[in-house]
Symmetry: C2
Subunit: 266 residues, 2 copies
């Protein structure tokens, strides 16, 4: 049975990449809701509605697990999607991301950078404090990073300055964090530049690898879940050519426009 | 009767501002499709569908004129909306923008900066060449400008460097343009920074003032069009608070969140 993965666009391909590395024999179907991206600047009500439509479309294919590879949608829609599709295992990226951050932090001071929607939800603070109640969590919304990542501007002066402008208030404090959590699946493509600006004392973590490990453990008890041939289907709600061009950098391998199926969720 | 204005989000408020200045006694209703913004990176088919839904919602209020205050939607949907709502006058921003650029250019060399969707459509080149067949038109997509404008980063190093990166290929040529046309309604809030980077030999023009003049002339023959009390209704498809906060910079006056009505087009 297939593992379904969805995101507002191409950012979730960083999670799909980790999933395919962790579970190479499984079949995957990925849906990017590119017709309505970004989710990160939209209201919780809109994101919930979009996430429900995306999940319904994937579940119709018959899934062994559904992965919400979008932080904003995980923050807003995880519980609703678990109820809607029970007993299907539904995995979001917030819990695994919090787990990775807590594991990497010696001081318990963790900074989260994410979209406006994710920061507003407070979901990362809550998830981190569930694992480590004394943690000090600072959060900063960095909406421009999504546009930079989509534009393929992952290095250079514009990127460095934008990173500095967003991170200075979070890092230039008396007791700085020792972990910076990338709380948006678009941000891993900027990780090298973010790491350079943040400096060597700060460990950069993201949700991708820990999410893949959680999915593997969820699937252990699902009958038939281990069957597959390592296939990958890619669906988008808009413009296959743009998805293929921009998505390649996130997936870490070439995508041909012909391999992307356009579907309508409206 | 009311003048309807729509855009993917808050950018079209730069056009509404010019319209209210040009036609101060008229009533306006503005719709920003913030649940699905931006249009500029989406396919023509999606933008056409969204524009039809937005236009239908506004026309239901009884209009004397419909203004497409979005370059991407004007490029893709103007003719379709004219047919759909005939004999209602429907005014886009591409024709008026082209008119402003041609009027301002001595050399006939014009650069257009816009979204990916507008550039891909070739609509500005076609509109400019209809007015001045010998014109030389260069076009550059600057998708990051939308995010910068939405983020309120209208001045500073990040902005200057991003402008330079986009404009250098267009301006640093043997025979540079003498007019730079802002072919996206988000861009006027960046006009000061763009003008500084482009230098004093290049005239910056946008569509807002000429669009308002075209609307005034269209309304001359419409019965009852001159009635009104200078009112303004603001509708958005998502998050009134964000629309109010971000929109104020584009409209040039404060907007209270309570003044924004959220509507559903889906």
């Amino acid at each position: 049975m297939t593992i379904g993965v969805f995101d507002s666009g191409v950012g979730g391909l960083t999670v799909l990449r980790a999933l395919r590395r962790e579970l190479p024999g499984r079949d995957f179907i990925y849906l990017g809701d590119t017709a309505r991206l970004p989710y990160g600047t939209k209201s919780a009500a809109s994101v919930l509605r979009y996430a429900e439509q995306a999940a319904d479309a994937l579940v119709a294919h018959g899934l062994s697990c559904l992965v919400i590879a979008c932080n904003t949608a995980s923050a807003v829609a995880l519980e609703a999607l678990r109820r809607r599709h029970a007993p299907l295992p539904v995995v979001g990226v917030i819990g695994p991301g919090a787990q990775a951050a807590v594991a990497a932090s010696a001081s318990g001071r963790i900074a989260v950078i994410a979209t406006e929607g994710t920061v507003r939800s407070g979901a990362y603070e809550a998830a981190i404090r569930r694992l480590r109640p004394q943690a000090e969590v600072a959060a900063a919304a960095c909406p421009l990073f999504v546009a930079l990542a989509e534009e393929g501007w992952t290095e250079g002066e514009v990127v460095d300055l934008a990173i500095r402008r967003y991170l200075d208030p979070v890092l230039s404090v008396a007791a700085p964090p020792d972990v910076l959590l990338l709380g948006c699946t678009h941000f891993p493509v900027l990780a090298a530049a973010i790491g350079r600006v943040a400096g060597p004392r700060i460990t950069i973590v993201d949700s991708a690898a820990t999410t893949a490990a959680v999915v593997r453990s969820e699937l252990r008890d699902v009958v038939g879940a281990s069957q597959g041939c390592g296939s990958m289907r890619l669906l988008a709600t808009d413009d296959a050519a743009r998805f293929a061009r921009v998505g390649a950098g996130f997936l870490g391998e070439a995508i041909t426009a012909g391999a992307v199926e356009v579907v309508d969720l409206g």
